[in-house]
Symmetry: C2
DNA sequence: CTCTGACATAAACATTCTCTATGGCAACCA
DNA sequence: TGGTTGCCATAGAGAATGTTTATGTCAGAG
């Protein structure tokens, strides 16, 4: 095989000696001089505390102890070499990994990624969804699509979708509990919150209401959920009013399953940012171009 | 385990990192500083060509590639450690190994070694019989009992049994084909030869006949065998006359199953020599003392 | 008897491995 | 909110290991 084997020191030297029955032959196979091989064998014999080979005038033979160790080393090296091959194969196979949050994955990326795959049939796409940013920059993803503001990301990050938020509910809920002509009317309804462990990086109901100059009595019947999919599911099942991020809920709004029931709040330096990670290659460029070409 | 593990370099370091999820923790376990561990992991990531761990602010996690390699390394190290334990256990268990030839093993050593074992019940005795000298000094035996002349052995070798040879046959054969009052009479009988690949180190029929001043017509009906046990078996089954080494055939002569039918040839600087190999210890001394105390 | 080729050792040098020192920084806590 | 903690990273210096060339020994072959 053309790829360089992992350097496992004396293990590979001993395996070659045991298999070939010759220090000189092992050296030839491994690109080492015969004294280098001799040195390594003696060193490991010192550690084990027993001769591992019996040296003949020409060539050598494994002792009983050497046979025992040889079997273990041989099979161990086989496994390690196999694993290295497998790792390297998966590196060079045409895969692209996108790290993002569950909301973006569900509502924006998964519906669209079929188009990318149709355009690039030889590329496997792996979507890695996560609750937080943990793991976004660990080197295993090719792109990260993350929500935040400009200052949160490296200079080369590109804004994929600015943050534009409207209150939404199902049309049935509006018929039953509406109309909601006045922003103040929303403050008397059960609101659906997207919660997170730390400080939210996105617009919340608190932000939206403050933007409308509306003060709210302590919430009654509100619902907090930790995944945006559950938030929208609750809205669709008429449990309250949710905040809808344009770009994520477009299909529901276009189909009429959700309706906007208040003014939009927009933050132009906030939104989903695309960060390309690791070294550039053709596949990453194809993905980046495709993502940036999507209509807002 | 109290014994020092084999130094397998990065393999052990990587296994500890993968198992503990911490570079610092792995270093603590292996007696290395944290930068030393960090250095090793980076080195192997360079060889593999992929990140193997994702570094978090506190601690780390294996990547998919790292998991693949970890499994192989973990099981490989287990096997190697097991083999090392097995080798060391067999080193320190109370065993003594005697290397000798088949003849000596069969006719001298095996009948007597029961006495040694009765005297030293805590010592296991392994007899390693071989056709030649190959392997006699490979470091795996505690004692070698070999046939040859003085000059063939190191100065500290002790003569266990000088070479004394008489022609022997079964009493039935003598009754049928004898008597053999004159050495010349033997030369007309089928002779049983102990053969070997190279030049024999022992008395042969050629040597014996020349010592009697007897010339022999080309052999008719002679039999050559490569193991002394087969030679004596052939003599016992009345197929001819064999050379009998005193010391090896004593029991047959005493019991009457074999009878001497000619004069003895003796070579005082030839015979079975005892060579103690490797480092001295209590067990070896016990064996040496016992062997040297045996009556000739 | 001479030659061959494989293993051993010595000495010099190259490379790797480890340490200490120090920086960066996220998470925790008062 | 600021200080502390503890883990990972890098740098530089020195220790330890690994390798080479040179050379010796010697059993086996011709």
């Amino acid at each position: 095989m053309s790829e360089r084997k992992l350097d496992v020191g004396w293990l590979r030297i001993f395996e070659a000696v045991g298999r070939l029955g010759s220090l000189t032959g092992a050296g030839a196979e491994l690109g080492l001089s015969q004294p280098a091989v001799s040195y390594q064998i003696r060193r490991i014999e010192e550690q084990v505390g027993a001769p591992l080979i019996s040296r003949m005038h020409r060539g050598c033979k494994l002792t009983a102890a050497g046979e025992t160790l040889f079997r273990a080393v041989h099979s161990g090296i086989e496994r390690i070499d196999d694993a290295a091959r497998q790792v390297r194969a998966s590196l060079s196979s045409p895969v692209i990994r996108i790290f993002t949050d569950y909301g973006f994955a569900s509502f924006w990326l998964m519906p669209r990624v079929a188009e990318f795959r149709r355009l690039h049939p030889g590329i496997d796409v792996h979507v890695v969804a996560s609750q937080g940013l943990e793991g976004a920059f660990d080197g295993t993803s090719d792109a990260a699509i993350l929500f935040g503001k400009r200052a949160d990301f490296p200079g080369e990050a590109r804004l994929l979708m600015p943050e534009r938020v409207v209150p939404v509910c199902s049309s049935g809920y509006r018929a039953r509990c509406g109309p909601f002509d006045d922003p103040r009317s929303l403050s008397r309804q059960p609101l659906l919150h997207l919660e997170t462990a730390g400080k939210p990086r996105w617009v919340t109901w608190t932000t939206w209401l403050a933007a409308q100059g509306v003060e709210r009595e302590p919430a009654q019947g509100d619902l907090g959920l930790n995944t945006y999919g559950f938030v929208i599911q609750a809205a669709l099942s008429e449990q309250g009013i949710a905040l809808g991020w344009l770009g994520l809920v477009d299909a529901h709004l276009a189909g009429g399953s959700l309706v906007a029931v208040g003014p939009e709040v927009r933050r132009d330096d906030c939104g989903y940012w695309l960060v390309m990670t690791g070294e550039g290659n053709e596949r990453r460029k194809a993905l980046s171009d495709w993502l940036l070409s999507q209509p807002q």
